[in-house]
């Protein structure tokens, strides 16, 4: 009797575990691919997309291509093999990614691009991009105003092979160059890196001690420059960044950084998932392929409302 009960329990248990295993596989999969999560910006993107997709009843797989177009290509192969229903992608290069996205399309998997564009249309279903140029002009205007429209400044540029590094720099200069008394005494790439921005800023400070401001292509470089300025006892230099990270938010609230520009990464990724959901259910997103999201200037007036690349309403 006791034995039979044990058998029955075991059988029930086995059935339960089998039936547990199946519904998960039957759910639709969304694959999310972004650059490395060691940058909190991309981590926020991935988390935003994952959270929204799971709310909408999808299973998710989150990967990072580490800005390596070849690795991205392999990840898309894996997504195709895994039978993904849609891909949310922050790509590894405007030209280098076209073929991989096309491959997904040929396999019947729609791609929804965020943050960075690709140099082709009709391949991805949607490309939602922050308006980096508009954001850069916002940052530059705040920078010029804080500088009093005059003085020597330094620009730290992002990785020069990255499209956004060039767009942001162009946006900065289209504003700043209108003021003849604003003089750029040094322009260096610090490859988006905090460590590199720190060492380069220290050297630049030696060559040009008479600087009044630093404008950086992203927040990690702004934080590196800030550390170098603080080490040199220069608390008078105006620093402006780009991205809207929590570190720079805290520095703004502490009065160390003047301003940054928020790209709504979290919201953008969520929106891409919503469009994917609509496309899968209705066959169309109902919107143009290219969608631009405006950036927001963050300074001491609104920094308190910023959390993980999202501004509280």
């Amino acid at each position: 009797m006791k034995f039979a009960r044990t058998i029955a329990a075991l059988a029930l248990g086995a059935m339960a575990s089998v039936s547990m295993a199946f519904p998960a596989a039957a759910q639709d999969l969304i694959v999310i691919i972004t650059p490395s999560h060691d940058n909190p910006f991309f981590k926020a993107e991935a988390e935003g997309a994952k959270a929204r997709a799971e709310e909408l009843g999808y299973t998710t797989q989150v990967y990072s291509h580490d800005d390596d177009a070849n690795k991205q290509n392999e990840l898309i192969d894996s997504a195709i093999a895994a039978g993904a229903k849609a891909i949310i992608l922050d790509n590894a290069g405007a030209d280098a990614s076209v073929a991989a996205v096309q491959k997904a399309k040929d396999a019947g998997i729609p791609s929804f691009l965020i943050d960075r564009e690709i140099n082709a249309t009709g391949v991805a279903v949607a490309q939602i991009v922050s308006n980096n140029y508009q954001g850069a002009t916002l940052g530059a205007e705040a920078f010029v105003e804080a500088m009093g429209e005059t003085g020597n400044y330094v620009e730290l540029v992002g990785k020069e092979s990255d499209t956004n590094a060039g767009i942001r720099s162009a946006g900065y200069h289209d504003v700043i160059d209108q003021y003849p008394d604003m003089v750029m005494v040094a322009q260096q790439s610090a490859n988006w890196s905090q460590t590199e921005a720190f060492t380069k800023m220290e050297s630049i400070l030696q060559a040009n001690p008479d600087i009044k401001g630093v404008i950086a292509g992203n927040d990690t470089m702004a934080m590196g420059a800030l550390a170098a300025l603080e080490a040199a006892g220069r608390n008078d230099v105006i620093v402006v960044g780009f991205d809207g990270s929590n570190d720079v938010r805290d520095a703004i609230l502490a009065g160390k950084v003047h301003a940054t520009v928020l790209q709504p990464a979290y919201r953008q990724a969520q929106w891409a998932v919503e469009l994917a959901d609509k496309y899968l259910k209705e066959g169309s997103t109902g919107m143009d392929e290219k969608i631009s999201m405006d950036c927001v200037l963050i300074d001491e007036s609104n920094a308190g409302d910023l959390e993980t690349f999202a501004l509280a309403d």
């Binding site: 490395s36 999560h37 060691d38 940058n39 909190p40 981590k43 020069e160 040094a186 322009q187 260096q188 790439s189 490859n191 890196s193 905090q194 460590t195 720190f198 060492t199 380069k200 220290e202 050297s203 630049i204 400070l205 030696q206 060559a207 040009n208 001690p209 990690t220 934080m223 590196g224 550390a227 603080e230 080490a231 570190d247 805290d250």
Partner: protein, 347 residues
């Protein structure tokens, strides 16, 4: 001195021996040449403040290169140092920001800065020991063993925070863990702490290499491993020790870098190993082992450091900086080969 002896040996090769001397001093001459060049070309290059800044930047690479020189002297290589820089920085940052969490006991211990430093140094040395054990006891080629730990340590650094940065590592008074930024931005008699660390490590490393039995064994293992083993050197122990030294040096750099930024970033230290190997090679360390000096490595690190800082101060683009650095490394190795051939033919 060596010029005089060479001349005494054979008067007919006078020109060759002068050339040989110049080649021997090539790294030092290169350092003088690049320094003079930037003194003329870069604004405000010649100043005490700039010399200190350059030395501070060089310290990071030179400390790594000291450890790597020991490994290369035994005929090995250590590719994992950059990742150890990242991991030890993250260990220190994590302990300062979030403490040592023991969920089993439900407590969080906040070690003070000295304890944090010791733990980070232990972690670095332990990874070095793993490298050494892989190379000796399991017979894995040093290139592959340390390539493996390069990935493992980098992955571990990312896992510690889920990829995030530990920032604002100033400590809290109530936790008793203040003072971490001193390593990166503090001064001793006007000299930054990182430079003091470099000087102390370089002197100790040079003394150990030249004047102790351990140092002689390191050279012996790299010169001819079999002969060393036959004459009673415990080769495995020497090899494990040099990887531990390298791991320790990398941990020191991990602490300096994260302390300078008052933040630990898991990707910190990427490609540092290549700069350190370049410094050792520039300084005349032979990649096949048995030949090289700590002093040469330090000068090699200064050549690279003066070059990169000077180019930044001149406003040269990042792309040209890379090209120039590469050409200097190639030139150094070509000159090294030339010197060896000349020395061989000169008897």
């Amino acid at each position: 001195m060596s010029n005089a002896t060479a001349t005494a040996k054979s008067g007919s090769t006078d020109n060759t021996s002068v050339l040989l001397l110049l080649l021997k001093l090539r790294t030092f001459i290169a350092l003088i040449v690049v320094t003079l060049f930037f003194a003329l070309m870069a604004p405000n290059f010649v100043s005490v403040a700039n010399a200190i800044i350059i030395s501070k930047h060089v310290a990071i690479n030179a400390i790594l290169a000291i450890g790597i020189t020991y490994v290369i002297l035994t005929g090995g290589i250590d590719l994992s140092v950059g990742s150890i820089v990242g991991l030890t920085g993250m260990v220190a940052g994590g302990l300062l920001a979030h403490g040592l969490q023991l969920p089993m006991l439900g407590i969080i211990i906040y070690p003070n800065v000295l304890e944090v430093v010791c733990i980070a140094l232990l972690v670095g040395t332990a990874i070095g020991a793993i490298n050494g054990l892989l190379v000796t006891k399991l017979g894995v080629a040093p290139f592959i063993a340390t390539l493996g730990t390069l990935y493992v340590a980098r992955g571990a650094a990312l896992l510690l925070s889920g990829g995030a940065t530990f920032s604002n590592l100033v400590g809290k008074e109530e936790l008793g863990n203040q003072g971490y930024p001193i390593i990166g931005s503090g001064n001793v008699l006007g000299i930054p702490v990182s430079i003091v660390i470099l000087v102390v490590l370089a002197l100790v490393a040079a003394y150990v290499a030249q004047r102790t039995p351990f140092g002689r064994k390191v050279y012996a293992v790299g010169g001819n491993e079999r002969a060393a083993a036959l004459s009673g050197v415990r080769v495995d122990r020497i090899k494990i020790a040099v990887y531990m030294i390298s791991g320790f040096c990398a941990a020191v750099v991990g602490l300096i870098v994260s302390s300078q930024l008052v933040a630990s970033h898991p990707a910190s230290g990427e490609t540092f190993e290549l700069n350190a190997i370049a410094a050792a090679v520039l300084g005349g360390t032979s990649l096949s082992g048995g030949r090289g000096l700590i002093g040469g490595t330090i000068i090699g690190a200064f050549v690279i450091g003066v070059l990169s800082d000077g180019l930044v101060m001149m406003g040269v683009s990042e792309f040209w900086q890379m090209v120039i650095k590469g050409l200097v490394i190639i030139a150094a190795v070509v000159l090294d080969q030339l010197q060896r051939r000349l020395a061989a033919s000169n008897g």
